[in-house]
Subunit: 193 residues, 2 copies
C-alpha cells in the first residue's frame, strides 16, 4: 500500500472507466469492494442494496444482450468489461415507503448511491476502474439473471483493470457554483492543494 | 496524516454521529469536504448537487425551528450540531428527466448519495463526524435559507467533532445476504481482515 495515501488523493485519481484490460478480476478483490459497500450508512439502517456480480463470461454475454439492446445500445461498450455488477434494490417495506412519501425523498436511491460509491472507491484503491451505468434495460437484466421479483435492478457498475490511455479527468463546476454559506453567501476561496 | 491510512480502515471507523462537541468547524475543513463532493461522478456529469452550509448560529436556529418541527421533531437533536448542511438538487433539465423516465431510475437521487458520501468520508478523514438526515421539513428549510426555487432540499448532513462516547458501530447484514454471483450463486467466504 502507498504510505502517502489519502482519501482526497484517491478521489482525485478516480475516473469513470469505459475501457478495460482483458485481465479477469479475482473474487477476493470484488468481495473487498462489496465489504466496503456493506458498511455504508442507509436510511433507518435499512441496507436496501443487493449486489449481483456477473463474472462468468457466458452469463455476462446473456446480460449484455438483454440489457444493452435497442434504445440502450449506447452502453453496449460495457459488455467488454470483465465484470458487470447489477446493483439492485430490495423492495422497500411499507413503513419505509410511507416515510419516503411524507419526507418527499426516495431514500433508497440515495442509499444505493452511497453504497455503490463505497464499492467504486474501494475498487479504485485496489487498482480497479469502474463506471456507473444507468442506461440499460432493467427487465432485460432481471430476465438474464433470473432475479426474484423482490430484487429491482437500479443501476449497473462496469468493473475491471483500466486501460490507462482513456482515463481523462471529467470537467467539474467550480466550487462557488455548488457551495454557499448560510443564506447564499459565497464560499471563501480554497487554498491551492 | 496517519501513514497507515486506507479507505477500508476509514470506512470501518465511520459512524453516524448524533452527538457533537461544542467546538466550531473551520470553513477550510468544510470546503475540503465540498471539494471531495465536487469531484464525484454523476449521470451525464450533470453535477446536480448544491451544498448550503449553515454555520452561523442564528441562521442555524432559524433552520432548526423551521425544519425540525411537528412530525419532524425526532430529528431535532441535529440542531445541536455546530454545522448543518442542506444538500439540494438543482432542478433537472428536461432531457435528464426524460432519460430518468425511460430508464426508470431517479438518477439525481443516486448522484446526491454519491456526492454526499464523498463529503462524509472526507469529513471522517479530517476527524469530523457526520449524520445523514432525511427526516425534515423541506419547505421549512427552503424558507429558512430563502432558497431560490431552482434549489430543492433533498437531505441534510449534521457535521461536527464527535463526542466519542456515542460512536457505536451499526449492525449490518452479512455479506452473503447482500452479494450474489451470476445467477444467484452465494459468495465464497472472505478471509478475516
Amino acid at each position: 500500500m502507498d504510505n502517502n495515501f489519502s482519501l482526497s488523493a484517491l478521489i482525485r485519481s478516480r475516473r469513470s472507466t469505459r475501457r478495460f484490460q482483458e485481465q479477469s478480476v479475482s473474487r477476493a478483490l470484488l468481495l473487498q469492494c462489496v465489504e466496503a459497500a456493506r458498511l455504508a450508512p442507509s436510511a433507518e439502517n435499512s441496507q436496501p442494496w443487493r449486489f449481483f456480480i456477473v463474472d462468468d463470461p457466458a452469463c455476462k454475454d446473456t446480460l449484455a444482450q438483454k440489457a444493452f439492446g435497442g434504445v440502450f445500445l449506447p452502453t453496449r461498450w460495457a459488455a467488454a468489461a470483465p465484470v458487470l455488477v447489477v446493483l439492485c434494490l430490495q423492495t422497500d417495506s411499507i413503513a419505509k415507503r410511507m416515510a419516503s412519501k411524507v419526507a418527499g425523498t426516495t431514500f433508497s436511491m440515495i442509499d444505493i448511491g452511497i453504497a455503490g460509491e463505497h464499492f467504486c472507491l474501494q475498487a479504485e484503491e485496489l487498482g480497479l476502474g469502474t463506471c456507473w451505468i444507468g442506461w440499460f434495460d432493467k427487465k432485460g437484466a432481471q430476465q438474464a439473471l433470473k432475479l426474484d421479483k423482490r430484487f429491482q435492478p437500479v443501476i449497473m457498475l462496469a468493473v475491471g483493470y483500466p486501460l490507462d490511455s482513456n482515463r481523462r479527468p471529467g470537467k467539474r463546476k467550480d466550487l462557488d457554483e455548488i457551495c454557499f454559506f448560510n443564506q447564499g453567501e459565497k464560499p471563501p476561496h480554497l487554498p491551492p492543494s
